[in-house]
């Protein structure tokens, strides 16, 4: 939905462009952006946050259209989670030529035409996941990697981090399959998981899932064949209502968790600072945390896992 605030004369209008809108991850980013807006307004700087994802999710061309249309419309600044690290280079350049500064969040861009890049270190996240899985398996056994989608930079980094970690520190672990892609939606991921497990279900000991939709779907598919609950160790990425349930119930052994609220928050904050003429850091890391059933209850982890979305987004839904 749109969250157009008051567009009073001296207010800034900032458009936040996520990769999609249906994953809960983006909801958190939205919440972070609203949080920043509220703080800025309290500090006497009115901003209007426009929240607009591509019409068809995971379609690069659609995201380019959104960027172009907002350049043409004229906004003060743009916070963008690029669907592709190359395809979005030129639209961001175009924004530069139209004097619209851009802050990149979540996924990288092969350009330095932006004000700042605020993201998780995805490669590190992948390595953390790999290390934890390796430890759980005691350095031996067979694992599966179900990749997310073709050409998605952030998940590719996670996948590479995971594979590198195993290769370097756990040479005893065999990777059964690492070239199947789940696809953009939960439904596709579920079908892909089921079919992958039809073949490897008997021998697999551990699974790494590079994002939320794959984590939830793979866990469901493993539960279907009675391999969840620790028989197969599952390391997922990102959180959602369902994946937290899975973690709590012991089906999932670990979740690499980013801080999307912070990402959205810092995106808007940094952009506002930049617009105000301040110099901002070119790269800001929002950190990753490995959440397991042990550290789940800790307060700062809880804050990460259950961001106060209602507080910022209202009780829509």
């Amino acid at each position: 939905g749109s969250q157009s605030g008051d567009s009073s004369g001296n207010g800034l209008s900032i458009v936040v462009i996520p990769k999609g809108t249906t994953h809960e991850f983006w909801k958190s980013i939205h919440a972070g952006a609203i949080k920043a807006k509220q703080e800025l307004e309290a500090a006497g700087q009115p901003v209007e946050i426009i929240w607009k994802g591509p019409l068809k999710e995971d379609d690069r061309d659609e995201q380019i259209k959104v960027v172009e249309n907002f350049i043409a419309r004229g906004v003060d600044g743009m916070v963008l989670a690029p669907l592709d690290d190359r395809a979005l280079v030129r639209p961001v350049e175009m924004a530069g030529n139209a004097k619209i500064p851009v802050v990149i969040i979540d996924s990288g861009l092969q350009s330095d035409n932006y004000a700042s890049f605020i993201a998780t270190d995805n490669y590190l996240g992948g390595r953390m996941g790999g290390a934890h899985l390796g430890k759980l398996l005691g350095g031996k056994g067979s694992v599966l990697l179900l990749r997310y989608a073709v050409g998605s930079a952030s998940t590719t980094k996670r996948e590479n981090g995971f594979l590198d970690e195993l290769r370097k520190n756990f040479p005893g672990i065999r990777v059964l399959s690492s070239d199947q892609y789940a696809g953009a939606t939960r439904d596709l991921a579920y079908t892909a998981s089921q079919n992958l497990l039809s073949r490897y279900g008997e021998e697999v000991n551990g699974v790494f899932c590079p994002n939320e939709s794959v984590s939830v779907s793979m866990t469901k598919a493993l539960r279907d064949i009675n391999k969840a609950g620790g028989r197969v160790k599952i390391i997922g990425f990102d959180t959602s209502v369902q994946s937290l349930r899975d973690l709590k119930s012991g089906d999932v052994q670990g979740l690499v968790v980013q801080n999307p609220v912070k990402m959205g928050y810092l995106g808007v904050m940094t952009l506002t600072e930049h617009l105000g003429g301040k110099t901002v850091e070119k790269r800001i890391d929002t950190g990753v945390v490995l959440v397991t059933s042990e550290n789940m209850a800790e307060p700062d982890v809880q804050e990460l896992l259950n961001p106060p979305l209602e507080k910022y987004l209202g009780t829509g839904n």
Partner: protein, 335 residues
């Protein structure tokens, strides 16, 4: 005489999808690695479960296509109805209420399709193409652009497509599979042997003749589209049950899969031909292909290519049939 009947075009058309499925399974069985996995009870159950949504959609689509129409809004309606199911569960409705109201929603969209097609006399392709966008938009609006996860899951709905209890054996099959099978039997009889079913064929075969023969063409068409919508609605419930969430962006392109299943199953897009068993087998065959490709660890693109080729081959077989027929006929005349 019997041989001639065997060689008759009708008979061959009726068994064509079964032959196709048989060929696919035979090919699978010849591959040792595939055989050992694909024919296991657990895997077969998985395939069946994956077939349910397309198969239920295909039942509705078969009617539409046999009557000479097409419904491109199927995928969007499935998404819309998966969201509606989620919303209804959130509001605390019981199983029957959720099921009926969702199916009703689908039926209403179909009613709108049929109403516009008959009263404004527009091509089904265009009307349902428009409706495809409208239903998708409404589902995103309803879902507030996010997936809808009911706080209090409704077990009976979730169980419809759940085969997690006994993953390694063929039985028990999830309720959804039984429901789909039951519906297939009912719909097959409806289409073959009821007056309504005959009218569907007559309308698809020649609308003017149907009108001349006293069939209320417009009324029947509206019923056909509404019924088809209801089936898509039911597929939406199944879609919800599969994901245990309402997802407005699910089932994109599903309509083409459904149409492919119906066409592989022997229907003609110009109307007047098609059957429920054929369509269901078509859906099953596609699920088998996907499953087999995954098991063989073929990359996704191989699967896409294979299914494309199968669609063309399945329909192209028609052109080989005359030869087979002649063969049969020669045999019968020498008897």
């Amino acid at each position: 005489m019997n041989w001639a009947k065997l060689g008759s075009s009708d008979f061959l058309k009726a068994i064509r999808p079964f032959v196709g499925l048989f060929v696919v399974l035979l090919l699978f069985a010849m591959d040792g690695e595939l055989r050992s996995i694909i024919f296991k009870g657990g895997n077969f159950k998985t395939i069946l479960t994956q077939t349910v949504i397309v198969a239920i959609g295909a039942m509705g689509m078969t009617m539409v296509i046999v009557s000479g129409g097409i419904d491109l809004s199927a995928g969007s309606v499935v998404a819309l109805c998966s969201v509606v199911t989620a919303k209804l569960i959130e509001q605390g409705h019981g199983f029957m209420a959720v099921l009926l109201l969702t199916v009703l929603t689908g039926g209403l969209v179909g009613l709108a399709n049929g109403g516009i097609i008959t009263t404004v006399r527009m091509m089904p392709f265009i009307v349902t193409l428009g409706m495809m966008g409208i239903a998708r938009g409404i589902s995103k609006w309803l879902a507030n652009n996010q997936t809808v996860n009911p706080e209090q899951p409704l077990e009976s709905v979730n169980r419809l497509m759940d085969n997690s209890q006994s993953p390694l054996t063929f039985f028990p099959l999830p309720d959804g599979v039984w429901l789909a099978l039951g519906l297939a039997v009912v719909m097959a009889v409806v289409l073959r042997s009821t007056v309504f079913g005959r009218y569907v064929f007559a309308i698809g075969s020649n609308e003017d003749t149907a009108r001349l023969c006293g069939i209320r063409v417009n009324f029947n068409k509206v019923v056909i589209y509404a019924l088809a919508g209801a089936f898509f609605g039911l597929a939406g419930v199944m879609q919800f049950s599969r994901l245990t969430q309402g997802d407005p962006s699910v089932a994109i392109g599903l309509e083409l899969q459904i149409i492919a299943a119906v066409v592989i199953g022997g229907a003609s897009l110009s109307g007047g031909a098609g059957s429920i068993p054929g369509s269901v087998i078509g859906a099953f065959m596609m699920a088998c292909l996907a499953n087999g490709s995954s098991i063989k660890d073929w990359p996704n693109y191989m699967q896409e290519i294979i299914i494309g080729v199968v669609i063309i081959l399945a329909v192209g077989m028609d052109k080989v049939e005359p030869f087979i027929q002649r063969l049969f006929k020669r045999q019968s005349s020498s008897n």
